[in-house]
Assembly symmetry: C2
Homo-oligomer: 202 residues x 2
């Protein structure tokens, strides 16, 4: 029997650096696949459909919801975001690890459907640093920044529902820790029953 | 509040290479402390009291048992082995990680008293390889080797009670995996409540 892959969900408040950390993690761990989200938000400069996101109209996204084609979806600041279910199931059944980079609301929804997933909450070093990062990013209006900061405080409490928390102070350190988490999860007894049976000669 | 240390227990059948793996792990992770076992077996060439083991007479070991000074103890092939309790408690309270390298019987006993410990079962790549290693080591009689091999098959079943299993095929790989396990355990939400409260401003 082929070992199933692990689902790893990296989540955290806006501005925590999920995107950068996940991109570096994918470089470091080449066997890890990335789950491409679906969204109705407009592409940012340089973003391509089917690479960073699957970009949808509201109509086609709502059709996906109706068809049960999303593992989770949420309306965040007026845009839909969601995780297509089919590719996740396919990778896991093929024994491939798959990475979901999603916001806290989405992660909490996936948690209910896939409780065996590895849930990692990425933390900013402090709320002051989070504010600085949001302002430096320069993609949001003042109103959105204040809303994101307010939301972030509540999201830190949601972190207690996750399995792991990682502080993203230095990107490399955060990436190394998540990489170690995947290595450790692969070594869990529950993921090695076949190996144990083989060595015991069963 | 100071974070408590983690107890990591590395265990496995005789000849799996526990000693080598633990020695390399201690070199790699300098903050990790080693719990020195007590035993009544005779020192091997080069072993010193208080370094590899605390060497005891049967009488003084039995006094330790009576005084409740051992976290676990067992009679293995006619010799007592045990884990002094006081140093383990002291290191954990000081926030230091501590490594116990003990046989399967001892680990199962510690597991009952310290269920929050990190239990790692070290596996040989195969039973054939384990037999080869036991013969190469040259420290046991033919009778003892056969007894150890017979015991090893049963011990692999006990592995299912552990949290992690690691195959010791290449020492460096086994050490890296256990090192990753410690990193991952430090990132567990349960070990980071203070950090979450601090960042949420509680």
């Amino acid at each position: 029997m082929k070992r199933k892959g692990c689902l790893i969900v990296v989540s955290g408040a806006s501005g925590t650096g999920k995107g950068t950390v996940c991109a570096e993690l994918l470089k470091k761990r080449s066997s890890l696949r990335y789950s491409i989200s679906a969204t109705t938000r407009s592409p940012r400069a340089g973003e391509q459909d089917g690479v960073q996101y699957f970009f949808h109209s509201r109509e086609s996204f709502e059709k996906l919801i109706e068809d049960g084609g999303l593992l989770e979806w949420a309306d965040v600041y007026g845009n839909y975001y969601g995780t297509p279910k089919a590719p996740v199931d396919k990778f896991l059944n093929e024994g491939q690890d798959i990475l979901l980079e999603i916001d806290t609301q989405g992660a909490l929804n996936v948690m209910e459907k896939m409780p065996d997933g590895i849930y990692v909450f990425l933390l900013p070093p402090s709320m002051e640093e989070l504010e600085r990062r949001l302002r430096t990013r320069g993609t949001d209006s003042e109103e959105v920044i204040l809303r994101r900061l307010d939301s972030a405080r509540g999201e830190v409490n949601a972190a207690k529902k996750y399995r792991y928390v990682v502080v993203n102070e230095v990107v490399k350190d955060a990436v190394d820790t998540i990489d170690a988490i995947l290595t450790a999860e692969h070594a869990k007894v529950a993921n090695n029953q076949d190996l144990l049976d083989k060595i015991a000669g069963l």
